[in-house]
């Protein structure tokens, strides 16, 4: 008897050789990679950056050390690649004379941007999924509209964003639109595939129940598209942060990471480490957001898959 395991039986963990490493090992791994990046960074500066010197007295011991790198690489000079410690120090140093540390200021801006990114993401994900749903139900719609959807993504967002800002009067709304504009596409493309990913036999089963399209959507297409959707949502989450930043700039929102980027971009030559600090903050926001999505994903995937039984 062909007791075929439905092909929807996918092992998220079973497929992973060795399964999930322990929390400790994961932290260690991330630490090592991060350290590697930083070491490479400073190594580049050591070899090809600008000369630097320490001239200080630490614990009564006067230190006077000068390092003159043997080479000169333009990507390693202080303007291109500030020292890691300068970036770190930028977080601690006050953003303005007598003001709060830049880290605190940026954190506030980041929260602001994250909020915008979240709302735009939700709108974009819903729109993306909605389009995906439309397309898998109508070949005609798919064939006629997908080219426009693709085209919409190749129109440089920076050309569109001001138009949106002009068309939509409310700042927050236009930020949301620009964010949604950048986020919906990965979701649409992934749902084009994910919503069709269920086993053909499962579709037959639903057909045999004369299940409506809606029922089939809810009880078959969506559940079996989960792996595709979450991949896309992660990409979209990352994109939404960028979208929110562009949107902020286009709408002339005076707060958020977008305005910080303009400022530190403008004053880049005087304090490159501040732009880098802002970029670091952007990535922290992105990581937080993608991490959030990953948590939700774990929730959705629970119980679906055969855990790794395999003895290695």
């Amino acid at each position: 008897m062909a007791v075929a395991v439905p092909s929807a039986v996918r092992a998220s963990t079973a497929g992973e050789p060795g399964g999930r490493p322990s929390r400790r090992r994961r932290a260690l791994g991330i630490g090592i990679v991060l350290l590697g990046v930083l070491v490479a960074w400073e190594l580049a500066k050591w070899l090809g950056g600008d000369p630097w010197r320490i001239h200080a007295t630490i614990g009564g011991v006067p230190i006077d050390y000068e390092h003159v790198p043997p080479l000169h690489w333009r990507i390693a000079d202080d303007l291109s690649l500030p020292h890691v410690w300068d970036v770190v120090r930028a977080f601690v140093d006050p953003a303005q004379r007598n003001g709060a540390p830049l880290g605190v200021v940026l954190f506030g801006q980041a929260m602001f941007t994250l909020r915008e990114a979240l709302t735009g993401f939700v709108l974009g994900a819903l729109l993306g999924l909605g389009l995906g749903i439309l397309f898998v139900h109508s070949r005609l719609a798919e064939r006629s509209l997908v080219p426009y959807v693709v085209a919409s993504q190749t129109v440089p967002i920076l050309a569109i964003a001001p138009l949106v800002a002009v068309a939509v009067k409310a700042d927050w709304l236009s930020v949301m639109f620009v964010t949604a504009y950048l986020t919906f596409f990965p979701v649409t493309i992934a749902s084009l595939r994910g919503l069709r990913a269920a086993d053909a036999r499962a579709f037959e089963l639903f057909r045999s129940y004369a299940a409506t399209r809606r029922t089939t959507l809810w009880r078959l297409r969506l559940p079996s598209s989960v792996p595709y959707l979450f991949s896309a949502l992660k990409v979209a989450a990352a994109a939404s942060v960028i979208g929110a930043i562009i949107g902020e700039q286009a709408a002339g929102v005076g707060a958020g990471l977008g305005s910080a980027i303009i400022t530190y971009n403008q004053y880049y030559i005087t304090a490159p480490e501040r732009l880098w600090a802002t970029i670091v903050m952007c990535t922290v926001v992105g990581l937080t957001f993608v991490g959030l999505i990953t948590l939700v994903e774990r929730l959705f995937m629970r119980g679906r898959y055969r855990p790794p039984e395999v003895a290695r």
Binding site: V5, P6, L205, R207, Y209, P223, R306
Partner: protein, 292 residues
């Protein structure tokens, strides 16, 4: 059989054709790569009949069931179910189907897999729970309600699929080798259950099996098919009295029918072409004795 009271002991079929295929053919694909799965199929299944389909692997039994279920459309010919088009019958949810593979949803538990058709057809929650509990008992999987399909053995998965198919009391049951993965005893008990349900509810059953004795024992008629292209080679009426019991199986008539079906199946024509270098003697020797 205890639940037999309301049913005549003779063949309980009425004359209305519940499933009717006329001049049906089905070809998959086109051009040189196409497969003609079925050709010239004429078959009428009357109400309350229990018809078994039997035939070599790949002869088109599943295809025939899928045609009746309106899961695929015939290339030529017409399929009518309950006097309507197959499509209408499907929309009216006239039939329940057990597929050859279990086709369970991994993200659902055993119980909610069984409840799937009930959910789709709008049964309320209490009723769903009641039914799935009953059905789990019927297919002997009481303790497994909360498990997921991948935690079940092959036979257990198949039983879940059976429970799901009968959950909403369909008027017609289309069953594609439903008991193929079950051991003898479980299979017997399932047979009894299907017969009970068939008799109690007046369902019409179209049943695919590879077991000749099972086909004869259960059916009102056995449809014997031959392969490539799939055709109906014989239709054998099983006029054994009901209720059928152990005595039925010991009767001369039963034995003759089993032999008749087997003979019909063994007619060289329509058999799939076997490897030519096989020793015909050895096969034939075994073939002469029927075991399933």
């Amino acid at each position: 059989m205890t639940a037999d009271a309301g049913r005549p002991a003779s063949e309980p079929t009425s004359d209305a054709a519940v499933v009717e295929l006329s001049g049906v053919a089905k070809t998959f694909g086109a051009g040189p790569d196409s497969t003609t799965a079925l050709t010239g199929i004429d078959l009428a299944v009357r109400s309350r009949e229990f018809v078994s389909l039997i035939g070599p692997s790949g002869c088109g039994k599943s295809t025939l069931l899928r045609l009746v279920a309106d899961l695929i459309a015939p290339t030529t010919g017409e399929v009518r179910v309950n006097g309507k088009t197959a499509r209408q019958a499907r929309l009216d949810r006239d039939y329940g189907m057990v597929f050859q593979a279990p086709v369970l949803m991994d993200w659902r538990t055993v119980a909610t897999n069984i409840e799937l058709p009930l959910e789709i057809m709008g049964y309320d929650k209490a009723e769903r729970k009641r039914r799935s509990a009953d059905l789990l008992r019927l297919v002997e999987l009481e303790g497994f309600a909360e498990r997921h399909p991948w935690q079940l053995s092959g036979g257990m998965q198949q039983r879940v699929a059976i429970a799901r198919a009968i959950a909403f009391d369909p008027k017609i049951l289309l069953m594609d080798e439903p008991f193929g993965a079950l051991d003898e005893m479980t299979r017997e008990r399932m047979n009894v259950e299907v017969m009970r349900i068939w008799q109690e509810t007046g369902t019409t059953v179209l049943f695919v099996t590879h077991s000749i004795p099972e086909a004869v024992f259960l059916s009102s008629r056995v449809v014997v098919m031959s392969a490539r292209p799939g055709r109906i080679s014989r239709v054998i009426d099983v006029d054994l009295p009901r209720p059928r019991t152990i005595e039925t199986r010991e009767s001369e008539a039963y034995f003759h029918l089993v032999t008749e079906v087997r003979e019909a199946l063994r007619q060289r024509e329509g058999q799939p072409v076997g490897p030519d270098d096989r020793d015909p003697t050895s096969t034939d020797r075994i073939r002469a004795e029927g075991y399933a």
